[in-house]
C-alpha cells in the first residue's frame, strides 16, 4: 500500500506557517499579539512555526517531485502531512482561540457575574478536542493527513509521561494529615465505586476506567492522563470530559448556596469544595463565590485540590493493573505474566518522571508544578543590565509604608507575620507569605502598602525554569494529542456510546458531593 499522496497541500500549509513566523518576527503582528496577550509565546511561535513549516515545505516538495513508492520511506513521509495538519489546528487553538476565549470571558464577567471561559474550562484542552470534532464532523480529515493523525496517541502518551515531572513526593508529605486522609478516602472511594458500577452495568472497561479517573481525581487532566492507560476511545474521553464539566459547573453554583445555608466556616467549605467538586477550575470558582473578599476558603480548597491531584500517580498505577486484569478475562490468569505482557510501559515512564522530580533534579524537591519558596540571600539577589547584584530585600521606603499602616491589621497571625516581614525585610516562611496574601486580598491597607506586600511575595516565590519548560512541552503534546483524538470522534461514534457514562458519572458525583459534605460537617472543625 502506498501512503503518500501527490498533493500540494502540505506545501501550502508549510508556506502559511513560515509566513506566519516571518510576520511575527518582523513585528507586523505585534498589535494582534499584544491584543491577545500572547507576548510570552513569541519565542515558541517562531521556533515551532519555522520548524514545522520548514519540514512541511521540504516534505511537500519531495512528495510533488518524487514518485511515491511503497515502503518504510513512504510510510514515514506520509505521517508528516498529518502532523503539520494537527499542528496548524493546534497553533490556531493555542495562540488564537485560547487567549481570545480568555478575553471574552473577562469582558463578559461584569454582565454575567462570572468568567464563563474559566467556569466552562474553555482552555486549549477542551478547545483542542472541540476543534478536532468540528473538523471531522463538519468537514473531513484530508486524505494526505489521515496517516499522520494516527500519531496523536503517541503525543498524548508522551505528554502524560512528562506530566510526572510536575509533582513531587515532598509536596505530598508536607500536606496536612487530615486532607490526605479525607481526600484519599474520597478519591480512592470514587474510583472504586465507578469501577464497580461500570462492571455491574457491563460498560466497556476503557469507558469505566477513564470515567473513574475523571470523577475520582481532578477532572479533565486526570481523564486525559488515564485515557491511554485503559486504552480509552476518543469518544469515551469526550464523554468523560463532558460529564465532568457539566457536573462541575452545576456544583460551582450549588455548593456556595448550600454552604451559606448551612452556615459553614471557611475551612469547612474549602474542605468540602476541594473534595466534592470534580474539576480544579470549578473548585476555585466555588471557593471565591463563597468568600469573595478573602482567600482563606480558596487556600483550604487549594490544599485539598492539590492533595487529590497528587493521588494521580497512585490512580494511574491502580487503573493500569485493574485494566490488565479485566481485559485478561474472568478465568484464572497468571497476573505477573499478564502484567509483563500487557502493562502499559508509558505508565512506568510517568512514575519514573515523578520519582526523578521528587529527587529535586528539575526543581527544589519541595515544589508543586515548579513553584517553590526560597528566601535565601542567593534567591533574593538578581543582576541588573550591567551585571551588578541587585537585592530584592524591602527598602527603607517600603518598610516606612508598612509601619505607617501596620495598625490597620487586626488579626493576630497577620500582625505577627507583618512584624516579622518588617524586622527581616523579607518573608520568613511560606505560612507568613500565605497569611499576608490574605491582607492583600482583603485590601486592609492602601494600594501602596499592598504593592510592597506583593513585592515581598514575588521576591520569595520562584518558578523553576526546567519545570516551566516541561509545562510548555506538556501543553503542546496534549494539544497535539487532543486535536488528533477529536478528529476521531464522529457523530456516529457518540450515538454508539449512548448516555450511560453521563448517568453513572452524575450518580457518583452526587454520592461524592453528599458524602464529603457529611464527613466534612462532622469531622472538620474550623482548624485543619
Amino acid at each position: 500500500m502506498v501512503y503518500t499522496r501527490r498533493t500540494f497541500w502540505p506545501l501550502v500549509v508549510g508556506i502559511v506557517m513560515v509566513a506566519y513566523a516571518y510576520l511575527v518576527q518582523s513585528g507586523v503582528l505585534a498589535g494582534l499579539i499584544k491584543f491577545l496577550g500572547t507576548d510570552r509565546h513569541v519565542g515558541e511561535m517562531l521556533i515551532l512555526s519555522y520548524t514545522f513549516g520548514g519540514i512541511a515545505i521540504v516534505s511537500g516538495l519531495w512528495q510533488l517531485v518524487a514518485p511515491p513508492k511503497e515502503g518504510n520511506g513512504d510510510y514515514l513521509l506520509s505521517m508528516i502531512g498529518g502532523v503539520v495538519f494537527i499542528m496548524l489546528v493546534a497553533f490556531i487553538v493555542k495562540w488564537g482561540l485560547d487567549p481570545l476565549m480568555g478575553q471574552w470571558g473577562r469582558a463578559a464577567q461584569p454582565a454575567l457575574g462570572f468568567n464563563f471561559a474559566s467556569v466552562l474550562n474553555l482552555n486549549y484542552v477542551v478547545m483542542g478536542i472541540l476543534a478536532g470534532i468540528i473538523i471531522v464532523n463538519l468537514f473531513r480529515v484530508p486524505d494526505w493527513a489521515e496517516n499522520g493523525v494516527r500519531l496523536s496517541r503517541l503525543g498524548l502518551k508522551t505528554g502524560v509521561i512528562l506530566l510526572g515531572t510536575l509533582y513531587s513526593l515532598a509536596e505530598l508529605a508536607k500536606l496536612g494529615r487530615l486532607s490526605v486522609v479525607l481526600i484519599g478516602i474520597f478519591v480512592l472511594g470514587s474510583v472504586g465505586v465507578v469501577l464497580w458500577i461500570g462492571a455491574r452495568r457491563n460498560m466497556p472497561n476503557s469507558m469505566t476506567g477513564v470515567l473513574s479517573a475523571g470523577v475520582g481525581v481532578c477532572g479533565v487532566s486526570a481523564a486525559v492522563a488515564a485515557a491511554p492507560v485503559v486504552r480509552a476511545k476518543s469518544v469515551e474521553i469526550a464523554y468523560t470530559i463532558g460529564t465532568i464539566l457539566l457536573f462541575g459547573v452545576l456544583c460551582m453554583f450549588i455548593f456556595p448556596i448550600i454552604g451559606k445555608a448551612l452556615g459553614m466556616g471557611y475551612i469547612q467549605f474549602g474542605a468540602w469544595a476541594g473534595t466534592g467538586i470534580l474539576n480544579s477550575a470549578q473548585v476555585a470558582g466555588a471557593a471565591l463565590a463563597f468568600q469573595p473578599n478573602g482567600i482563606e476558603t480558596l487556600k483550604v480548597a487549594e490544599i485539598f485540590n492539590i492533595t487529590r491531584v497528587l493521588f494521580l500517580p497512585i490512580i494511574v498505577l491502580w487503573l493500569a493493573v485493574w485494566y490488565v486484569r479485566r481485559e485478561a478475562g474472568a478465568q484464572q490468569v497468571d497476573l505477573v505474566q499478564v502484567v509483563v505482557g500487557k502493562f502499559p510501559v508509558f505508565v512506568l515512564g510517568f512514575i519514573l518522571m515523578f520519582a526523578l522530580s521528587s529527587t529535586g533534579i528539575f526543581a527544589p524537591a519541595l515544589h508543586y508544578q515548579g513553584a517553590y519558596f526560597d528566601n535565601s540571600e542567593k534567591a533574593l539577589t538578581s543582576k541588573d543590565k550591567e551585571g551588578k547584584p541587585v537585592s530584592k530585600l524591602l527598602g527603607d521606603k517600603d518598610l516606612d509604608a508598612l509601619r505607617a499602616e501596620a495598625g490597620k491589621v487586626q488579626r493576630e497571625d497577620q500582625k505577627v507575620a507583618l512584624g516579622r516581614l518588617i524586622e527581616n525585610r523579607k518573608l520568613m516562611s511560606i505560612d507568613d507569605d500565605d497569611v499576608l496574601r490574605g491582607v492583600v486580598n482583603a485590601k486592609i491597607m492602601s494600594k501602596a502598602s499592598n504593592d510592597v506586600l506583593v513585592k515581598a511575595h514575588r521576591a520569595v516565590r520562584h518558578t523553576a525554569k526546567k519545570i516551566a519548560k516541561f509545562r510548555d512541552l506538556i501543553a503542546w503534546f496534549f494539544t497535539f494529542g487532543l486535536v488528533g483524538l477529536g478528529m476521531q470522534i464522529t457523530a456516529a461514534s457518540i450515538r454508539q456510546a449512548g448516555g450511560q457514562p453521563l448517568v453513572i458519572g452524575s450518580i457518583v458525583g452526587v454520592i461524592k458531593a453528599v458524602g464529603s459534605l457529611i464527613v466534612v460537617w462532622f469531622l472538620v472543625a474550623e482548624t485543619v
Binding site: 510510510y75 494516527r150 502518551k157 515512564g349 518522571m353 528539575f362 476521531q488
Partner: protein
C-alpha cells in the same frame, strides 16, 4: 477512519502494537527530559 484504510498499525496508531507505541513515547520523553535537564537553566 477505519482499520481497513491502513495495512499497518490500526485505526488509532501507526505502530504495530500498543507496547511499541508506549516504548516510543518513553524514549521520546526521556530524550526530552535529558535535553531540558542539560540545556534549560
Amino acid at each position: 477512519m477505519t482499520d481497513d484504510k491502513f495495512d499497518r498499525g490500526s485505526a488509532l496508531t501507526v505502530f504495530p502494537s500498543d507496547r511499541y507505541e508506549d516504548v516510543m513515547a518513553l524514549v521520546l520523553s526521556l530524550a526530552i527530559a535529558l535535553l531540558v535537564y542539560l540545556f534549560v537553566n
